[in-house]
Each structure stands twice: as C-alpha cells, then as structure tokens.
Symmetry: C2
C-alpha cells in the first residue's frame, strides 16, 4: 500500500498513539470546570482534542459545508454527533481532509499576529491561540457520541455462534439453519448505553439454578462481557426503502468498541422464545471516539468465504472485512494491573457490517442518523481469541488466568473487576496507527434491591 | 360505582363519543393549511381538539404547574408529549381536572367582553373566542404523540402465547417454562412506529417455504396484524434503580391502541435463537390519543389469577386489570365496509402493565419519558376473541369471514386491505364512554425492491 505521508506539525503525536493524523475520530467532549461544561464536537489528535465548535466558528469548514444547508458552527456546537452524521459522506470526508491539512500545514491557517501577514493564504490570526482549540485529553470529559434512536445487536461471528450454540443447545443444534443465510440480529436497549468509564452495578433478576425447582431472584452469578464493535448510522432512509450493497456505503458513519455486558443466567432463563431482554439491557458500554469508515479504508481485507452463497441482496463482492486487532483485558478486583485474556480481530467476522445494515433494511425498516448496530461478539478460530468469558471458561468449566502469577483466575466477572476492550489497526509498514482507544467498565456490587 | 356527574357545557359531546369529559386524552396535532403547521399538544373532547398551547399561554394551567419548574405554555407548545410525560402524575391529574372544570363551568373562565365583568372569578375575556382554542377534529392532523426512545413489546396474554406456541412448537411445548414466572418481553424498533392512518407497504424478506430447500427472497405471504395496547412511560428512572409494584404507578402516563404488524413467514425463519426482528420492525401503528391512567381508573378490574404465585417483586395485590373492549375490523381490498373479525378485552391479559414495567426495570434498566411498551397480542378465551389472523385462521388452515355475505374470506392480510383497532370502556350505568378512537392502517402492495 502506498500513501502520502502526512505529519501533524501542529501537535506532536507519539508514534504509538491511537490518534494519528490518519485517524481523526469524532467525539463529544466537555471541559470539566468550564462554567456550563458545554458538550460539543471534538476530534482526537495525539494526546489532544481539537475543539471543532471553536474552529468551525472561525470559518475553518466553511468551504466543506458550502452545499450542506447547515452551518458548521451550529453542527459542531451540538451536544451529539447526530446532525453531523446526517450530512453524509462527502461532508465527513471533507471535514477530515481539511483537518489533516490544518494539522500538517498549520502555517497556511495560523499567522502570528505580531508578524506582517503574507498574502494569498487562508490564514487567520485568531487560530494562533492554540489553547483556544486544543484541549489536553486529560482535561476533557467524554460523553456518549450520539443520541441513539435505535440500537440493534447482530450475531455475526460464526465462531461465537457455534461456541454459544454448543453450550446452550448441544453440538448438533449449535448453528441454527438460518445462520448461514442471514445476519441474525435483534433489537437492544438504547437507554442503557453508556460511555467508557461509567461503572455499572451487577444486575439482579430471575434465574433457574435448578431445573426441578422454581426460579429464584437475586444478583446474577454468571456476569460476562462481550467483545463487539458498533457502527453508527449516517443519513436516514425512509420507511419502505431498502438499502443495497452499493447504497449502504453512504449510510455508515463510523465505528466504536462495544461491550455488550451479559448476565448469562438471566439470559438463559428468559430468552425463549423472543430473545435476550433483561440479560442484556442493564448496560452496554461504548468507546467515546467514533473512527470514520474513511479512516478505516486502508485496513479493508476480504471477509471469510461465505458458503452457501448468500441471496442476491446480501452478496458483497468487495473486500468488506476490516483488519482490526481487538484485545480484552481484565483487572481483577483488588489488583492494580490489567492483563490480557483475549486477542481477536474484526476480520474473523462472517457477515460484514454492510451486509448487516442491508439486511436490517431489506423489509423497509427505516434507519436514522445516530442509530447504533453492534456486530455481535467477535470470536476467532483459536481458544484465546474467544470474545466472552462464557466461551473462554467454556460455560464456567475452566479457569481463565487473569494476571501474571497464575494464582488469579476467573470463570465469570466478579464485583470490582474492570474490563477493558482495546482496538487498533496498523499498516504493514508500521508507519501509523488508527486506533479506537479504550472501552472500559467496572462492575460494582449489586445494589440492595427494594425487595430484600 | 358512584361518581360526580360532569357535563361539558362548552362543547356538546355526542353520547357515543369516545372523547367524553371523563376521558380527555392527550395528543399532538397540527392544523392543515396553517402557515407552519406547527405541532403542539391538544386534548380531544367530543368532535373537537382543545388547543392546550393556546390555553396555557392564556394562563389556564398556571396554578397546576406552579411547582413543576416548567412553564405550561412551553410544555404544551412542544411537538411531542415527552416533556409533559416527564412531569409526573400530580401535574397530569391537575391538568385533566382543570380541563374538566373549564369544560363544565366555562362561565367561570369565559366572560363576554361586552358585559361588565363579575368579580372574584378566574374569568378571562380572551377565552371568549372559542375558535382560537377549539379545532374541529376533521381539520386537525394527528401526529406520533412522543419521541419514542425505546420500544418494548411484551407477550403477556396466556391465550395468545398458548395459541402461537401450539402452532410453532406443538401442543406439548406451547407455553415455555419461564412464561408463568415472568412477563416475557423483547425490544422492538422505535423508528418504524407510525401514527394511525399511515399506509405501509407489504415487506419483503427471507422465508423458507420448503424445509428441504434454501430460503427464498420476496414479499411476505403471511402478513398479519396483532391487536395490542401500548403504554407510555412517564418520569425517568436512573440506571441501576428498579421500580417496585408501588412506585411503578407514578411512571405510567397513559395508554394507546397498538397494531404490531407481523410477517409470520419472515418471523418464523429468522426468530431462532434471538427473537423477532425483520418480521416485526417494518412498521407498528399506534392510535394518536393517549388516554391517561387517571381516566382509566374507573375501569380497573381484577387481573386473571396467577398460578404459580409470582416472585415477590412481581406480586400485584391490587386490581390492575382494565376492562377495555377491543375490536378488530377489516376492510377487504376493493370493498367499502369494515367488518368485525375479533372482539377481545384487555382484562384477559395475564400479566398486568404494572408487572410488565416493574419486570423491565428489575435488573436496573432505566426508562425515559416517552418510552413505549406494547402488551403483546391480547387474545381472549374464545375463538373470535383471538387477536391475530394467525390465530383466527389457525395458521392459515381456516377461512376467516370478512364481510356480511360470507363470500369474502381471509387467511392473512391481502394488498389493499385496511385493519382497524377500536377500544373503549363504558361504565355499567352507560353514562359515558372513555375510548381510544381508532388505530387504522392500510397495506399497500410491495414496492419493487432494488434487487428485482
Ligand atoms: Ca451481543
Ligand atoms: Ca407483539
Ligand atoms: Mg448489553
Ligand atoms: Mg411491528
Ligand atoms: Ni409508497
């Protein structure tokens, strides 16, 4: 792969940063201590956040937004990315390219007001004051990037579906007959989607510890994470208007890490016949920075071969897999260090995200900017690439090592444990990283319920 | 039951009107032809809509909103009911009572400006001009009453679950073991919820006409309605804070009719193991007027006896069923008249709406104003009380008569058919009706898909 070398001269970016000039993910931030802690749009670069509301109000994106019908100052001052997501690919791409130019050629934009101004440049002296638009990430509070109208979770990893199927229904019924014909999906809960860093209490609910006894109520004993990615929807569609494998590309804005926390015992008891409900909807954690599909384009790889060939509406003739390394780390309660318990990759996923979204709309179901789709747990072919404790501990039959000395193990998540998902792409030459940062969450003890 | 007789003297209400002075449901309307067709809050009375934005701006609700922290003029000028729903029971109740007083004692509020004003009344001469705040329903366009953050559908009728279970899984596995222990529910799609009167195209998708052959793609051949009611959530809860059987009463705003359109062939093929998805999310229709739980209080009846006794968090010791007559009418394509194909009643429902919402939050799942919960199909004990064509035609094995001469029959919905749900309560003395109006939808032929 060949590419133009870009270097951020405005901000020094450490070579191992997830937020290189080739990334430029969008997020919603506020500055703690500011009078109203106003939420607005930012872009991550190295250890900084670029304040897009400020830059837009200075006119930086006027050209890119010319035909959008929206003012960039207004769009980037919103407390969510929904409006920006609605504007579509050319505006997203233009904004990212303008930022790459701004970061790599700051002198074209920034003129020391004490010097005589050179002619014929886009320079504006107000952009001299870096502290107005560059915020250290340590000072920024990150928020949920969008108002999520609908959240859908797929089940698109063949390895995961096979593993879970074996445990829940036995080897012979592991993969349901529909699985190879369509990306199985179900609707999830929007209200309980939280941003990385938000702690969650262990949920309580009904479970059936003994098949010959009635169900009991109490805190879940089989609490789990699920390693997923999520993608945000861009421009809306109208009810009754399906997307195709071609048009879908303009409707995916970008990608985040997603931890679909799951209470396996609650889920196992409740899920027949209408699917997971309380076993899932107590909380879902996403990373704050949305990496655009444009930034991910260099990491496209072929998806796994699909046999049997899908129906025509699902045929994806392009390379639509993504080579994204995905790690899960766990910090056990009372300890100081995270240790890795899983390394997977988005490229293992059987159904591509484009196939997922096309299938979602094939019946005319409409989508809206800010809708979120989870890929489903991303498990790989080998044992330590399994994306959940259910699979890693094989339904609690095996100990999973967490920590270096071999004395700390887990079957499921314990109170006080923290789970961190990490994801990144790097090009073969090792020139740069496009990363997702972290998606972290701590499980607090169950709250006393009003029924105790 | 004894009650104070109220009569609307401001507006004459026909005795068979669903919108008596004892009802006063809230909705969102606009007036076709008005410059900006501004959406705002209205209340139905007889054949009119009261413009609450206008009345609020005249100060009618100042006292009721005194401690709400919100201005009634602002709240009732919103294009959705979400803000009003967030304010809680005392404000809803106060607003309804003030309207009952306004309608039955208009002279206390309305003074002919040509007469000398009498002292000591709340009268305001501006309310004299009826045409400013009374709009004929025929001139009003009704809209979706809330911005629905999350939509959940339950499965709370034992008759329905048993009927469907028999057909999908055989008599022995009809009711799953969990069914009598918890109100089974699943998440649905918010984006495709439409208001009564919105036509929908027949959805296309994958189905498996022949078990020994691969699935095929095309328009659904087993399109169905589901007779449900939906309830809107009032004040929010925080993540991690379950409701109880006592606190839940303050979190239910009101009730609508709901048609959960279902493509049975798509659903049957896709639904294992994660539940219904494209078989449902192409469209859900609700009635525009939200009948408050206060208006429904006189119609509370005991729910069916629950055996085995539910776990403590689900024990409902009050009468929490509602005696609401529910009819489904179908107008076959090419014909002029609706004919009734089902009469059911909300009182048949096994799990109460309070139990549904408590169960929904028992794991800490948070709810937000404007969230919508469907009860699930409401089938009764006898054959013509079944709330879907799937049950009425027993999975297509029997003809369902639609029309008087017996020559028109249906197994499932055909293109051009219209389905209407109607619901109402009437007190034993027959003094008045509290009704839901209609929930109607027409099925248009499938759109040519981009894959044909
Ligand atoms: Ca999942
Ligand atoms: Ca339903
Ligand atoms: Mg979850
Ligand atoms: Mg539906
Ligand atoms: Ni049309």
């Amino acid at each position: 792969m060949s590419f133009t070398v870009l270097t951020s001269t405005l901000v020094k970016v450490p070579s191992d940063s997830h937020f290189s000039i080739y990334n430029l993910p969008f997020g919603i931030f506020s500055i703690e201590g500011e009078p109203d802690e106003k939420r607005r749009v930012g872009v991550a670069i190295g250890e900084y956040v670029l304040d897009l509301a400020y830059l837009a109000n200075k006119g930086l994106f006027d050209k890119e937004f010319e035909n959008s019908g929206s003012s960039p100052g207004y769009v980037f001052s919103q407390p969510t990315l929904n409006h920006f997501m609605s504007l579509g690919r050319p505006i997203w791409k233009g904004t990212r390219q303008k930022l790459q130019d701004f970061l790599s050629n700051p002198n074209r934009y920034i003129v020391d007001p004490t010097l005589p101004q050179s002619a014929g440049v886009e320079a504006t002296s107000t952009l001299w004051e870096r502290e107005k638009y560059l915020v250290e990430q340590s000072r920024a509070a990150m928020h949920i990037p969008a108002n999520i109208g609908d959240y859908t979770d797929f089940y698109a990893s063949k390895e995961h579906a096979t593993n879970v199927g074996c445990m829940f229904r036995g080897k012979d019924n592991a993969l349901m007959p529909n699985w190879v014909h369509l990306p199985v999906g179900y609707h999830g809960r929007s209200s309980s989607i939280v941003v990385s860093g938000t702690p969650l209490h262990r949920p309580s609910g009904q479970r059936l510890p003994n098949k010959d006894q009635p169900p009991v109520f109490g805190p879940s004993k089989r609490l789990d994470f699920e390693l997923e990615m999520g993608f945000f929807v861009g421009p809306k569609t109208n009810l009754g208007e399906p997307l195709t494998m071609e048009t879908v590309e303009d409707h995916i804005f970008g990608v985040v890490l997603l931890n679909d926390w799951s209470a396996r015992d609650i889920q196992a008891w409740e899920y027949v016949p209408l699917g997971p409900f309380l076993g899932k909807n107590f909380g879902t954690t996403i990373s704050p920075w949305v990496v655009t599909v444009d930034a991910l384009e260099p990491f496209l790889v072929p998806q796994p071969k699909q046999v049997p060939e899908p129906l025509p509406y699902l045929r994806d003739t392009k390379d639509s897999g993504y080579d994204i390394v995905l790690d899960v780390e766990l910090k056990p309660n009372g300890h100081d260090e995270f240790s890795r318990i899983c390394r997977s990759n988005l490229k293992y996923m059987y159904w591509t995200i484009k196939q997922q979204l096309v299938h979602h709309t094939v019946n005319g179901c409409n989508i809206r900017p800010g809708d979120l789709c989870g890929t489903g747990t991303i498990s790989g072919p080998i044992e330590d690439s399994y994306g959940s404790l259910l699979e890693l501990s094989w339904s609690g039959q095996k100990d999973v090592l967490v920590g270096k000395d071999g004395s700390i193990t887990r079957k499921f998540i314990e109170d006080g444990d923290e789970v961190k998902l990490i994801g990144y792409c790097s090009n073969p030459e090792g020139n740069y990283i496009v990363g997702f940062g972290e998606c972290v969450g701590k499980i607090l003890p169950p709250k006393p319920t009003p029924y105790d």
